[in-house]
Each structure stands twice: as C-alpha cells, then as structure tokens.
C-alpha cells in the first residue's frame, strides 16, 4: 500500500460524487416539495388519498403490480389550439379573416379514430374553410379552428380574430404518444406522487399505464371483476388473475351485496359466490383514486373535460388520435 491515501481519496471522491448526483441533487430539487395550486380555480393539489386507497397502495406494492404497470405519462411537446368562442357582430370581417388564416374544421375524435383504424384511408385532415364553411361554423360555437400551433402563432391568430370583432381563446394541449393513447392529459410530475410512500412509478410496461386509471375506469366493481378474471374484459390479457384476493364461499340466507356479478364463463358453481377480501377492496379503492390530470404550473394545460371516451387500455393501440376535448370552462371571458 504505497499509495494508500491516494486510493482512499480516489474511492472517496468516486463515491461522494455519485452520492451527490443520486441523493443530494434530487433532495435539493424536490425534497422540499409541498402542495401547490391548480391553474384553473386554484384548488389545492394533490390531496392525500383516502385511507382505504392508502392501504391499497401497499397491496399494489405487495403484489408486484409495479413490475408490469407504470404510472408515468410521458409528453413530447405542447401545442396551442385557437378556439373561436364568440362570433361578434361583424361577420363581414370575420369570415375573410377565417379564410385568410386558413382556419378549418378539425376532425372529431370519432373521425380520427375511424381514419386511424381504416388502413387504406388517408388520415382525417383539417378541412380548410371556404366561405360557406366558415358561415356554417359560426352557427356552432365554441369551435376549435386551428390546431397544433406555437404560442406565438396562436397569439397572432387570436389577435387577427379579435380585430375582426370575434372572441377567441387558446387551448394549451400537451401531446405525445402516451397522451394519444388516452393514458393521461399531461405528463406525470413529481407533485402527483407527493402523498405516496413508497412511490410506484413502475419499471416496465407489460400492461397499460395506470397513472390515470381512476379517470378512465372510475368504477371500483369493474376493477374487482377485472382482478378476479382479467380475460373477462380483454380476451388475450396476459395479466394473471388475482383470485387469492377473493373468497369463494357458500351463499348464506341471501347473496352478499359485495359478491361479484360474473358471467357464466367465470361464475362459481351454483350455491357459491365470490366475495372480495379487504385487500381486493383496498386495491380497487387505490386504483380508482389514481388520477393525475390537474393543470399545474409545471405541467400546464387548459382545463378540459376528462378524456374517458378516448381512453384505451391496450398498450398496443397507439393510433395517432389527438385527445382534444371540449373544455368545461373557457379560459378567457
């Protein structure tokens, strides 16, 4: 050991630098994180999960759900949509403005879905307005008229439409493959996990992402049936049935109100019923409590209604579907 001190120092610096990078830096970044306010309405976010859902987190952990399901929605960008909210009184000026801005009708979600599933058809496109089209649009406000713009372009468009006497607002729309699948409306941020211990962001995606599963599947009894027999809902599901979370027992005087309503294929023998144990109920409560879609400063979006209709559970269904939804509150008055 001619170079003992040198070796010690080298080892010390190697370990200390990785400790700084992996422990100290994250602690300085998010260690002091507190509840924040949502953008629309300023409600406190996040709020702690109800007690049963907190127990469910431990069931989720104990059964290794996180090894097949992530809770991380990724986002690749943010775009702006211009929405015409009020036509104003000067149609003679507004219609030429709409035509020169190349505004158009944006295909509805149903149209986009149909186009994405039909392989030979071209994808649904923005239909630019001609004059009668623009007139027709003014009868059905509010309407998105331009899509996928940068903030500067959107501001310029709003300015042009305002100059023509109309009122227009801007939607902030996060985009990305996960969001197209309907797995969320914005990316997952550290705030979403503030009250979870341990945090379960998951390691791989064998099954669908669960960050917003409570939003697309808000029914706890659905989750119970699905845990008992995943193939009830998805024919080729590779998810193992978690039947040990349920009790098969004889029906007493009356069937239990908690007993699962199963179709004949999965139903138990006559005279028996399937009743969820406490762990299954807690897990279902946890799953229905999973929703991370509040608009925050760190992950802005314009308040829109939940995209339940657009959501899909299948990880392979990566159709290029935009998740535009009708906003419940217009951001400008």
């Amino acid at each position: 050991m001619n170079h003992g001190p040198l070796l010690f120092l080298a080892a010390f610096f190697a370990l200390a630098s990785s400790w700084c990078g992996f422990v100290l830096a994250p602690q300085l970044q998010v260690g002091q994180m507190q509840q924040t306010n949502t953008l629309s309405g300023g409600a406190t976010y996040p709020v702690a999960r109800p007690g049963e859902a907190q127990q469910g987190l431990q069931v989720y952990r104990a059964n290794g759900c996180a090894s097949c399901h992530s809770q991380q929605v990724r986002q690749s960008g943010t775009v702006c949509d211009v929405v015409l909210t009020e036509a104003g009184t000067n149609q003679a000026a507004l219609i030429p403005a709409l035509v020169t801005l190349k505004c158009g009708t944006i295909p509805t979600q149903a149209e986009q879905r149909a186009a994405a599933t039909a392989k030979d058809k071209p994808p649904a496109r923005l239909q630019e307005f001609s004059e009668p089209g623009a007139r027709d649009l003014l009868a059905h406000l509010p309407q998105p008229v331009r899509q996928g713009l940068t903030r500067e372009e959107a501001n310029a468009d709003v300015k042009a439409l305002t100059a023509a006497g109309a009122k227009a607002s801007i939607w902030i729309v996060p985009v990305g493959p996960d969001i197209s699948r309907g797995w969320g409306r914005r990316r997952t941020v550290a705030e979403d996990f503030l009250f979870d211990y341990p945090v379960m962001p998951g390691v791989q995606r064998v099954g669908p992402d669960l960050a917003n599963v409570g939003l697309r599947l808000p029914d706890a009894s659905w989750h119970l049936r699905h845990l008992y027999a995943p193939r009830l809902y998805e024919k080729g599901s590779t998810m193992p049935p978690y039947r040990f979370l349920f009790e098969k027992r004889k029906i007493g005087k009356e069937p239990s109100p908690e007993a699962l309503a199963l179709p004949a294929e999965f139903a138990p023998e006559a005279g028996l019923e399937i009743v969820p144990k406490q762990a299954a109920k807690a897990l279902a409560a946890y799953l229905t409590s999973l929703r991370a879609d509040a608009p925050l400063f760190v992950a802005p979006l314009v308040a829109a209604s939940p995209t339940t209709a657009a959501a899909t559970n299948a990880p392979g269904a990566s159709e290029p579907v935009s998740t535009h939804a009708v906003p419940t509150t217009a951001p400008t008055k």
Binding site: G42, T78, S169, I172, G176, R187, A190, F297, P331, T332
Partner: protein, 192 residues
C-alpha cells in the same frame, strides 16, 4: 563459468499518455455542459421535459385574460365569505346571496361602489327586501385584489357577467373620492 549478468528486472519507464485521452474528457465535459444547459432548466424543480426552462414554461401557461380566479377566491374566502358564505348563497338575516343577484350581474360601476364605502338601508335583492348595513369591507383592498374578488363573484357559482379590471376599480375610486358615507340603494340605482 562466467555468469552473464542477469538482466535487470523490467521496469516501467515514463510513457506519454495519448493526446486523445487528454482531449476526450474535455470534449465530454463540453458536451455535458451543453446537455445540461438545454435540458436541465438548471436543476429547477419546476422544469420537466419537454420544457427547457421556466421562461418556456411561462409561455405555455393558459392565458388568463385578466382573470385571476385563484386570487379572487382567496380574497373572497377571507373577507366576503364570513357573511355571504363560501358558496355565494348568503346567510339569512345577515347577507343576501350573490348567485343570480341583479346587483352582481348588473352594472360593474354599481357593484364596485358597494364594497368601497358599504351599503346601508332598505335594498331589494332578487325580489326580497333586506334592511341591513354592510361596512366598507373593500376599502382596504388594493385595486388588483378588489377587481379579482369582484370578478370571482361575477363568474362563479353559475354567475356569468363581465370581468372587472383594476382600471375600472381605479376609475370608480377616483369618482367617489373621499366619501365614507355608505350608499343607499336609490343612490346606487342612479349610477349607470
């Protein structure tokens, strides 16, 4: 037999480090700096991908259009809600409701005047007679706070009226000047 001198043990002499190994760490460091500069938001906890900086994030905040409902709500709940209730429904024999009230949905100039010096005496709200005195609850508020809270009242709980701007509040304050005497309903109705 004359022993040939044993060859000395091999020794490592000085050897030059290839120049490329000296340059490489600096190149990696340079690339790392550029990477952090582009992607880290300088370790701000507020910046997540796909955003690069707080400035870019600010660009994508939804336009409020002078509508700061969070601020209005905070002011409302500390000052107005004591009598008018959190849901704007008022309290019997204490304060009338804001929801659907013609005083709230009507002229902004009338509405701004009420919290500035108060309102006393008989007043008819939604076909109900009230005869109470409201103190000048808004006199101590800044223009911004008063505009935010009045706007909050005008657009919440199903109310749909125009936004009140700080400029409007300022103009009204100038018009009423030093008055401290509470309004009567008839005085307010004379205001356009």
């Amino acid at each position: 037999m004359p022993a040939t001198p044993e060859s000395a043990e091999p020794r490592a002499g000085p050897a030059a480090v290839p120049i490329v190994l000296l340059v490489l760490p600096f190149l990696i460091l340079y690339w790392g700096m550029i990477y952090f500069d582009r992607n880290s938001g300088w370790f701000s906890q507020e910046v997540y991908a796909p955003y690069y900086s707080v400035a870019e994030l600010t660009l994508y905040q939804p336009p409020t259009g002078g509508l700061d409902l969070a601020r209005g709500k905070a002011v409302y709940e500390t000052i107005c809600a004591l009598c008018h209730n959190n849901d704007g429904m008022g309290k019997p024999n204490q304060a009338p409701a804001f929801v659907g009230s013609e005083w709230v949905l009507g002229s902004p100039n009338r509405m701004i005047r009420i919290p500035l010096v108060g309102l006393a005496g008989p007043v008819k709200v939604k076909d109900q007679e009230w005869n109470l005195a409201m103190p000048n609850m808004g006199a101590a508020l800044s223009d911004d706070d008063l505009a935010a809270v009045l706007t909050y009242i005008r657009v919440s709980w199903g109310n749909k009226a125009s936004v009140i701007t700080p400029a409007q509040v300022k103009a009204v304050k100038k018009e009423i000047g030093n008055r401290t005497q509470p309004w009567s309903a008839s005085e307010l109705l004379a205001v356009p």
